[in-house]
Symmetry: C2
Subunit: 86 residues, 2 copies
């Protein structure tokens, strides 16, 4: 197997799974004060569009990775939106 | 222009620029308690590998977008690492 696709796959796996610890932390501690609402609004729309792009080009890895990331970014965004007022 | 590439470009732009408000917020308020160290460690390595992947496949948009994101994720990671002890 060539090195290019391997690095691409590892990169895709890492950027996708990286959101797991943030989801766990946010759901557990509900401390979203340091998290940017604007970041997660833009990012969630962005990865959702990546998923749509995957559907258009019919690439299952692109669809799957971005569906998972959209879900996780959406959870963080949800907790950020319902952040208690200080 | 076909719809596929347009959606891909918009998706890439959104996921890249989304980190700008998080960098601004983190640099300004230094409140990184709600931010996951593990997320930014894994994510920064992931986007760096995306950049390497871009170099291997010689795609400037992939290189550029991920170089910018690596830098921004790196800044957030830096502030998270030097977070003052509570």
């Amino acid at each position: 197997m060539k090195i290019g696709p391997v690095i691409g796959i590892v990169a895709a796996l890492l950027t996708t799974i990286s959101f797991i610890p943030q989801v766990v932390k946010t759901v557990k501690y509900r401390d979203t004060r340091g998290i940017s609402l604007l970041m997660y609004m833009i990012f969630t729309i962005g990865v959702f569009l990546w998923m749509v792009y995957g559907i258009i080009i019919k690439q299952w890895p692109v669809i799957l990775a971005n569906a998972v990331t959209t879900m996780m970014a959406g959870i963080i965004l949800f907790y950020k939106i319902k952040e208690p007022k200080q």
